[in-house]
């Protein structure tokens, strides 16, 4: 007989894992709300959340109530949504393009977003109508459409999509640099730099109302196609021979990752590293099957991003580091460790 049967699996172990990871995420979010320049005890945090959610009337200072609800909780939830969406997008693209270096920005999305952002921030496009975020979102979508059209025109294989993405990214990055060097003053240039490295400052509830549903819907769509992604293991023809409508799956999933990424980038800037590396870390933990890999990527991405946000706020007193710096600075060594632990026997 073969291996333990997959029917029953060890469903209780999986359930326990899912419950545990949500507890870990909840704990990380509570930490993110409690830690900061003004330390707030976990108990106060719980009371403040309960006051808003369940209409309880615990006595709290209005400052504490405000910090917990209006600033830190919204920020932590957005970090979690962005982390989940970026890691999910990376996992999907690595499977679809069969390339371990694929990441959410491979389709030119962050480059387009940055061009859109500087066009609004520096050139003043759509002054008074477009916010920085909408400008970035429009830039991201324009870049994605251009890259997709180029990839389709060039024959549409995985390698063509990646090459078209490289061309698109280079073009939009050059445009961004052109605008910054010709039109920006020093202060604006610094602002752009900060935005490009990713920042959760200034995040409020309306941003969460956009980001959280985007991440959840993206997750639902990708889970629906988890088995189709497995079928891509041996390439496009192998997937088609297993009955996968390859083009339809590709278009839907590329579109879903593009929208997820564009939404996150336009709110928090292009935070690197998460989308590239978290899926690999998740793969080491749960294996390559997408039914497990996608949820694992999403939850690890969320926890990692919330943790990175905490670090970015406390590592230097009185100053907030761009979160993209933290994700790479702490993520890269952590990933090196995973890579080393999971090395193949030679």
């Amino acid at each position: 007989m073969v291996q333990p049967s997959a029917i029953s699996g060890r469903w209780w172990a999986r359930l326990a894992l899912i419950v545990l990871s949500f507890i870990a995420l909840g704990f990380m979010i509570s930490l993110a709300v409690s830690i900061g320049e003004i330390a707030i005890p976990l108990e106060t945090t719980a009371k403040a959340v309960s006051n808003r959610l369940f209409g309880t009337a615990f006595e709290l200072s209005r400052i504490h109530q405000g910090i917990v609800w209006d600033y830190r909780l919204s920020r932590a939830l957005l970090a979690a949504s962005a982390g989940a969406a970026l890691a999910l997008s990376g996992a999907i693209l690595q499977a679809l393009l069969r390339n371990p270096l694929a990441e959410p920005y491979v389709l030119g999305i962050s480059a387009g977003a940055s061009t859109g952002a500087v066009a609004v921030m520096i050139l003043g496009f759509g002054y008074g109508v477009l916010t920085l975020s909408t400008g970035a979102f429009i830039g991201a979508v324009v870049a994605f459409v251009l890259v997709s059209a180029l990839a389709a025109g060039a024959g549409g294989g995985a390698d063509r999509i990646i090459l078209a993405g490289v061309a698109g990214s280079q073009l939009f990055n050059a445009l961004t640099s052109y605008i910054v060097t010709t039109s920006a003053n020093a202060e604006q240039a610094r602002g752009v730099m900060f935005w490009l490295l990713g920042s959760l400052s200034g995040v409020r509830w309306p941003d969460v109302y956009l980001a959280a549903p985007v991440a959840l819907i993206g997750f639902a769509i990708s889970m629906f196609f988890a088995r189709a992604l497995d079928a891509f293991t041996f390439g496009v023809d192998a997937a088609a021979a297993l009955g996968i409508a390859v083009n339809r799956v590709r278009i839907i999933l590329l579109g879903a990752t593009a929208l997820m990424t564009a939404a996150m980038v336009s709110i928090v800037g292009s935070i690197g590293f998460v989308g590239l590396v978290i899926p690999h870390a998740a793969r080491f933990l749960v294996g390559p099957s997408h039914g497990r890999l996608l949820p694992a990527s999403a939850i690890i991405g969320a926890i990692f991003m919330v943790a990175a946000d905490i670090v970015s706020r406390i590592i230097i007193p009185q100053q907030i580091l761009p979160i993209g710096v933290v994700t790479a600075l702490f993520g890269a060594p952590a990933f090196a460790l995973i890579l080393y632990k999971a090395r193949r026997p030679v």
Binding site: I7, R98, A226, T233, F234, A241, L242, G243, A245, S289
Partner: protein, 254 residues
């Protein structure tokens, strides 16, 4: 179910790769597809499971034109073993064989006892049941090929297409795989290079040359010294084997 290929054309990059091919394979029979490199064997196999669409002509499974079938319905009946398909993913033998159940499962349907049985039977057929947990990248070329065949069998096909399935296999496994395929109660088409193995295991042969069928029939009818000289450009001496009674090809160097 029978496979019938009627006047099929297909071109790529302005070059006619498949140029008016007509072949019929009766239900349950095994057809060997012979021909030099680039004669259109792989392309024809891809057309039969509609990985490519014919430019003109009709390919039918039984009486059903595949052009009108849903991709999923084709995959439930026709399994393809490609040449040298590999992956960088850290998948196990079991992961790969389970892929064969993809067309039979809905996107959210749980794994069933039927799926389990198909996978276990397939692993038994290729003699790899105790290797199920082994990682793909630790397998030899021959083992990978057998895993692909197990994956195809897990699809529980009624038509099986194999593109040079014995490449990379040692002679023992070549014989095992081909006798397995010949015994399966499915209609199969096997692209092969080894003329002697083709004669031993196939009910019928078709020889392709420049995208056309230049000979078709039983091994006795097809494998002649003239044909092999014309198509492959080598001189041979053919006799009926005293041991297995099939055609046997001796290559001549003089």
């Amino acid at each position: 179910m029978s496979i019938s290929i009627n006047d099929v054309h297909w071109s790529a990059g302005g070059v006619m790769i498949v140029n008016g091919i007509c072949i019929d394979v009766a239900a349950g029979k095994t057809l060997g597809l012979l021909g030099p490199n680039g004669s259109g064997k792989s392309s024809l196999l891809k057309l039969i499971c509609r990985l490519r669409n014919v430019k003109s002509g009709v390919i039918a499974l039984g009486k059903t034109d595949i052009a009108g079938m849903a991709r999923l319905d084709i995959a439930r009946r026709v399994a393809l073993v490609e040449q040298q398909a590999t992956t960088e993913a850290q998948v196990t033998v079991l992961d790969v064989v389970r892929l064969g159940r993809t067309p039979h499962r809905g996107p959210l349907a749980p794994w069933s006892a039927v799926d389990d049985k198909a996978v276990n039977d397939a692993l038994d057929h290729v003699g790899l049941p105790e290797r199920a947990g082994q990682f793909w990248h630790t397998l030899s070329g021959g083992e990978r090929q057998r895993v692909h065949i197990a994956r195809a069998l897990a699809q529980t096909p009624s038509e099986l297409l194999l593109d040079e399935p014995t490449n990379h296999l040692d002679i023992q496994h070549q014989l095992e795989i081909l006798s397995l395929v010949a015994k399966l109660p499915v209609t199969s088409i096997i692209a092969l290079h080894d003329l002697n193995l083709a004669a031993m295991f196939c009910d019928n042969l078709a020889v392709l040359h420049h995208g056309k069928v230049v000979a078709a029939g039983t091994p006795e009818e097809v494998l002649t010294e003239d044909l092999i000289a014309n198509v492959f450009g080598v001189r041979v001496y053919i006799e009926r084997s005293a041991h297995h009674g099939r055609q046997h090809v001796h290559y001549r160097l003089d």
